[in-house]
C-alpha cells in the first residue's frame, strides 16, 4: 500500500505517525507533529492514504480529520464538518468555494506504520 498525493521530492523527513490500525477504514484521524496538526485519511476503498492540514481555511477550525471523505469525478476529497467546504486530497484545492488551498503531505505505509512526509521543522 502506498500513496500518491503531490510529489515526494520535497520531502525532508518521513515522520512515523501511528499504526495503520489507529486509523478507521475510510475515515480520518488527526496526527500531531510538533505544533502542526495533520489530518490523515485511510481511504481503504481506494487503497490509498492521504494527509493534509487539519485546519479548515474557511473558519480556521481544527476539524478536517473529522470530515467525511469521498470523491468528485474521481478526485478524492474531504468535506469539512462545519460548513461542508470540500477540498481535493490530492491538490488541496477547494472544490466548491473560493477558499485557500490546503497544504497536503505525502503518506507511505511500511511494516504496519503510517509515515507522513513533512518538511524540516
Amino acid at each position: 500500500m502506498k500513496s500518491l498525493p503531490s510529489n515526494t521530492t520535497g520531502v525532508a523527513t518521513w515522520f512515523r505517525a501511528a499504526r495503520v490500525t489507529d486509523f478507521p477504514a475510510d475515515g480520518g484521524a488527526c496526527v500531531r507533529y510538533g505544533n502542526l496538526q495533520i489530518a490523515v485519511f485511510n481511504f481503504a476503498r481506494r487503497n490509498e492514504w492521504y494527509a493534509c492540514q487539519n485546519q479548515c481555511p474557511h473558519k480556521m477550525q481544527m476539524v478536517l480529520s473529522r470530515g467525511l471523505i469521498g470523491s468528485q469525478d474521481g478526485e478524492p476529497k474531504v468535506a469539512c464538518p462545519f460548513h461542508k467546504r470540500a477540498f481535493s486530497l490530492k491538490s488541496g484545492q477547494c472544490l466548491n468555494a473560493d477558499e485557500d488551498c490546503l497544504t497536503v503531505f505525502p503518506v507511505k505505509v511500511e511494516d504496519g506504520f503510517v509515515y507522513i512526509g513533512v518538511p524540516e521543522e
Binding site: A17, A18, D22, F23, P24, A25, D26, G27, A29, C30, V31, R32, Q37, V40, F43, R45, R46, P57, K59, M60, Q61, M62, V63, R66, G67, L68, I69, G70, S71, Q72, D73, G74, P76, K77, A79, P81, F82, K84, A86, N96, D100
Partner: protein, 834 residues
Amino acid sequence: MTRIIVVGNGMVGYRFCEKLRKSAAGSAFEVIVYGEEPRPAYDRVHLSDYFRGMTADDLLMAPRSWYAEHDIELHTGELITEIDREGKTVRTHNGRVDHYDVLVLATGSAAFVPMMEGTERHGVFVYRTIEDLHHIEAYSKKTSRGAVMGGGLLGLEAAKALVDLGLETHVVEFAPRLMPRQIDDAGSAVLKMKLEQLGLHVHTGKNTQAIEGNGRLEGLVFSDGTRLDVGMLVISAGIRPRDELARACGLRVAARGGIVVDDSMRTDDPFIYAIGECASHNNLVYGLVAPGYEMAEVVVQRLNDETSRSFRGFDMSTKLKLIGVDVASFGDPFGETPGSVPIAFTDTRKGIYKRINVSEDGKYLTGGILVGDASAYNILHQMMINRMPLPENPEALIGIGTGAREQVGGGVGDLPDTAQICSCENVTKADIVGQVTEHGATTVDDIKKATRACTGCGGCTPLVNDLLKLTLESLGHTIRKSLCEHFDYSRQELYDIVRVTGARTFDDLLDSHGKGDGCEICKPAVASILASAWNEPVPKLATIQDTNDRYLANIQRGGTYSVVPRIPGGEITPAKLIAIGRIAKKYNLYTKVTGGQRIDMFGARVDELPDIWEELIAEGFESGHAYGKALRTVKSCVGSTWCRYGVQDSVSFAVFIENRYKGLRAPHKIKGAVSGCIRECAEAQSKDFGIIATEKGWNLYVGGNGGARPQHAKLLVADVDTETCIKLVDRFLMYYIRTADPLTRTATWLNKMEGGLEYLRDVIVNDSLGIGETLEEEMKALIANYECEWKRVVESPHLRSQYRHFVNSEEADDTLQFVTMRGQKCPADWQKNA
C-alpha cells in the same frame, strides 16, 4: 509601468481592483489603494447582518492578504487630503506624498445630516460604517426606545438594526409615504401595515424640527407640534457624495453634488476617473452598489484600451426584503411614462400590493411595484427590460383573472438570449444556456462556478434554476431526483433497494447500485437508511456519518461538542438536576435550557465525551440524540395532574411517546409535543407530530414546523383514544421514514406530497394502500431494537479509544480558545484568515 492610485477602499474601489487584476492588461499596472477606514473594504449592503452574529471580518470583501497576493499596495486608515493635478501627486493626512499616472476616485458618500438643532447631542448617530454600528450597539444598551429619521431604503435597514438590538423602534419619514422613491401611496400603506404588524412604529408626513434633550437626546419635536420621546436617533435621510477632494483641486462638481463624469467615467481631468457614489453621471448620483460596479468595469475596460463599453445610466430596479417584507420596484414604478395605464390590486388581509404599468398601446410593461409578495419580480423585470410582448390579459401577470400561473411560468423560455439574468455579474440568458448545452453544466453550482451568476446578491438563483431545468429538459435529459453523483436513485428508491437486497453496509450498496467512492451527501443519507431499515447501531456506521453522528454529540463553534441527555417530556427529578449540575461543573461546561425542555451542556472536548457520559449514565441518563437526524424531544405541558384546566394527563403521555420513539433514525430530526388541553401550552401545533387533549381523547396534528419557515401542523384525526393515537403516530412516522428525501422535515415532505393531507390521511388513517400493518410491524421492530448508543460506547474500550483529538498523542487540542460570558465559558469568536 502605469501607476494607478485608487482613493477609497469601499465596495466599488475594491471591485475596481479585482476587475483590473483579472483583465487582460491587469498586470501592466502598479496599483496603490488608500482607504480612510481602519479595515479593508467590507460589504456595506449587508451591514445590518452585523447585529445577527456576523463579525466585522465576515463582512470583508477580501482579507488583507488578498491585496498582497494580487500585488496591490493597500494603505488603510490613511486619508487623502489633497490632490496636486499639476504635479500628479496626492498627499495623505500624515504627510505622505505619492505620485500617480492615473487617479481613480472612489470616495463614496457620507450620510446626509439635515441642518437642524440638536444633531450634535449624545444619542444621535448616522448609519454608514462598522464604527457607526459599534457606537449604535453600545448606546442602545442605555435606552429602550429608538427612532430612525428617514423611511427610505437605508432608513428601513437601519430600523431593522434597532429592532435586532431589541429596541422599541420608530421610523420617522418626512414624505407622506415610506420608500418615496420606489413605491406609491397604496404600496406604502400595505408596507406600513406589515411593518406595524411586526412591531415597528411608522410615522409618515412628519417634519422633524428639533432634537431635544439636555446634552443627551430625549425626544424629537415635529412641525405639527407633536413630540416623540426616544433615547436614541439614527439619521438616515439620504447620502451626500464625498466630492470635497475633487472640489478642492478644481475638478467640475455637479450643482447637487457629485464629481461630474462622462460616459467613460472620466472627470474633466483626463488622468482622473470617478466611480461609485461620489460620481455624478448625467446629473444623477447612484446610491446603489450595482451601478457602481458597472462604473468600475467601464474604467477597467478603458484602461485596457477597450472603448466600446460606456456607462449609459443604470436601471434602478430593485427587489429586497425589508425586515422580512418583500418590496420590489422596477422600471417606471409610478407610471410617469405618458399614456401608460396602471393595473393594480391590494389584498389588505394578506398584506399584498401589486401594480404594473402597461404602455399606451398595451403591448409592453413600463414598470411596476410589488409589496408583500415579490415572487413575480424576476420575470416581470425581464419582460420589461427586454420589451417582451405582453399576453392578451396582462392582469394575469400579477395573479388577477384566470390562467395567471401558466403565463408567468412560461416566461423564462420566452426571454431573449440577450436578457440579463444576473445583474451583479452581468450574465445573460445565452451565457447560462451555453454552459448547459456547450459545457455540460447540470447543476446551479456548475453555472455559478463558470459564470459567477448568483454569487452577488443571489436574487437571480430561482431564474437560473428554472433556466437550467428548462434547458436540460430541452436536451432530452429527464430530471431525476438522484441523490448525488454516486447514486442515480432517490432516497425512497434507495430505501427500497436496501430492504430488497439486504445491503448492510455502505460499500455493499455502492458496489451494487452506485459508482465512485461516495461523498458527504450520500454517506450520511445511506447511514440514515441503514439505521432505519435494519436498526444498525449508529456507532457501527461511524465513518459514513456526519461528525455529529460519528461522535454522538453536536459539534460547536471552536470544535468542541455539546452534550444533551434525554429528559423525556421535560420531566426531571431534583436529584437528576443536581447530577447534571455537578457533572457540568466538574467538566467546566456551559449550560443552557433548550427549547425542547432539556438541558444542553456545551464546551466538551472530544476526549472528555466518554467520561462525561459515563457519569451521566451512572446517574440514570440516556443519550438524547440531539446530534442525530432522529427523534429529539416530546415537549409537554403539566396537564391534568397539576393544571386546573387540563383534561388529560399530557406529561405521562409525552413521557410514554418520547420513550417509545427514542433513538428512531429518520430523514431529518423529528420533534413532538403533547398538550393537556385546548390552550396548547406545549405548542404541539408547531411540531412534526402534535397531540392535543380533548374531552373525548386526543387530536393528532402532523407536519408542523418552527424554524426558518414556521408552519402550523394539520389536523390528521380528531378525538381518538390513546391506543389509536399511538398506532397512527407509528404509521405516520414510519411512512415518513420510508418515503421522504434526505434532510426533508415532515412539513416540507407533506407540502410536496401529491394529494397533500387528504392523501396522507387516506394512507395513514383509512389504510388505502393496505400497508398500515406493515408500517406498524416495522416500527415495532425498531422500537424493540433500541439501545442507548452512549452506553455502548462507554462500555467498549475500542469505541472509547476513537474519542481523542490526536491519534499519536494523549494530549488535548491546545488550539481551543474560550472567553467568559455572563459567568460561563464560551468559545472565542470565529478566527479569520488574516
